[in-house]
Amino acid sequence: MTDSQDLTPAGGTTAGATRAGDGAAVPATDRPAADAPLLEVRDLSVGFRSEDGLVQAVGGISYTVERGKTLGIVGESGSGKSVSSMTLMGLTRTASATIKGQVLFEGRDLLTLSTEELRRIRGNEIAMIFQDPLSSLHPFYRIGDQIIEAVRAHNDVTKKQAKARAVEMLGLVGIPDPGRRVDAYPHEFSGGMRQRVMIAMALANDPKLLIADEPTTALDVTVQKQILELMDRLQRELGTAIVMITHDLGVVAETADDIAVMYAGRIVERAPVRELFSHPRHPYTWGLLRSIPRLDMPRDVELVPVDGRPPSLIGLGDDCSFRARCPYAAGCCRPGMPDLDPVVGAPEHALRCTMPAERRETIWNVLSEGGTPEQAAVAAGIPQTEEVA
């Protein structure tokens, strides 16, 4: 294991970083890159040792991202969406982390790569942008120098060539007067402009995959829209695949091709975007959809937040982790964690819930007409006891 040189703030010695089950059994790295999807995550799980016990941040997730496509990963804070994506980049390799599964990028398992091999992929073939563009840029260096640094980390070019690239990228992301602004410092930009700089920096090496971790959360609503449109345009022009991580279904509704809904470290529902919005099937997805305003619902419909709090990721039981918050669990839930199985009649739609299909339909019909979860539960004939409510 070569990641022992990894100097990490959390770890100190990283000799203990363990990745059980990596690669030994599956010679997947031999697959020709051309047939393979750009990114295939297989049963990825990430746990961190803490003083209170093992935090199972990601509990075995699988998904695929095709070239040039966008996958939206949606979930609330602590659902493991950020941790799973940081893990793709090797940014969670610390002494306290246990990482299992496979992350196949063009057929190569990133989890088995050495620190140096992974470094060559980071920022080069897979790039990442983050939530807060101000704190994500180094306050002491000119933005041009920060982009130049990213270019020169992976390309043997002169400073001058790298700077020309930086100016080109700044122009591409819509920074006015890029030849001059390249010498400005991050604090001299507005929030939206800073995120444009981050995008320019991320795309400077023409990566095949861009991981965007809540890229619009820290921005004003109008600026959010601009950034999303920019990412959309760049994706069309450059053919970059995007993993868009967000807590906001609205963000991915227009930009994503597929959506994975995460809850407590697991994907609970995965479907193409139209399918997910027209036929959402998981109670948690319903909760998310009913908690945001929608144009296709009557105006006077009240928004309903998802009751309760996400479960602690320490010592998660074997049962469905949403069960405690699910208004429809009574009378249909079985013990044990349901598998993420394809829906009968909709093979692209995968679901981690054992509710019978008719009941599911009844409930969503009520909810999509603006009914409350209680009304939906009654319509589906679910006994409403105090415990359930």
Binding site: N124, P139, A150, G174, P176, R180, M198, M201, K225, E229
Partner: protein, 342 residues
Amino acid sequence: MPGSPQRLPSAPVSVSSIGNRSSVARYIVKRLLWTVVTLVVITAVAYFLFRVLPSGDPVRARAGKAPTQERLDAIRESLGLDNPWYQQLGDFLWNAAHFDFGRSYISGAELRPLMLDALGATAWLVVGAAIVWLGAAAVVGTISALRRGTLPDRVAMGGALVAISAPVYWLGLVALYLFAKDIGQFGIFPGAGAYQDATTVLDKAGAMILPWLVLAAAFSAVYARLLRSSLLETMQEDYIRTARAKGLTERRVIFRHATRSAVTPLVTALGVDVGLLIGGNAILTESVFNIPGLGRLSFDAIQRGDVATIQATVLFLAFFVCISSLIVDLLYALIDPRVKYE
């Protein structure tokens, strides 16, 4: 379409953020004027303190045994002590502004060459020690932060605690006992008093080896701990994650991205410490190693009630603290482009 550059809200444009040259110059002039005000106030306070406190009559101290009244009056007049207080203070400040600090009340020697010699010795001591402690702290602090919780970290931080706790006079005597050429068990370095006898620069540097190490010991420990905690904090910053995500080598992430932010608190501390030490706070080290620096000069002056010398050394101390804090504030702008001078 919103993606087009023309429609975008334009952020305030100022490419050079340190500000233009003239604003820095204006800032420096303003700070220097304030420094002058500070020095006048401190000198006045020192002046009144020593007039109010029973420090003995300098005239009698100067006059020798059983002086006649005429002799006392003559000395009083020659020292200017017969003038009203405001004239005395005014004269002192006026002369000090021309780098003339008057004469010692005790020996009658002119103070300017005395002060400059002492300043030279102290500067040798302090600047050399500062280089030693910064170097030691950089190495120890960085390793400790990057290897937090490991044996090297624990040993270094334990050693730091010992170094902070060891008094300079004790450490100095131990160092002499162990390593001084004359009295040491392993006589490898010049001992106490070597600086006074040294004539060449090389000899002077050699004479300073033990004083440098002794003075730097506690400071190394303080600065190493400071750097360690500062670096640990910086390594958690979002922009460090960005630097890693860009695919920079870990070496570059640490030494280019983390260290630059982490040194800010060290610069602050360095400004204060060096200012104080040059101004006379290195007195313990100077005493142990018999270095004729400003600390020794002021200590001797206090012992003898030599008010003129005390006044001059107080002025020096205040001056160096003011100047070094000004330098620190200017350094901030070099480190952090967000710092602006108004």
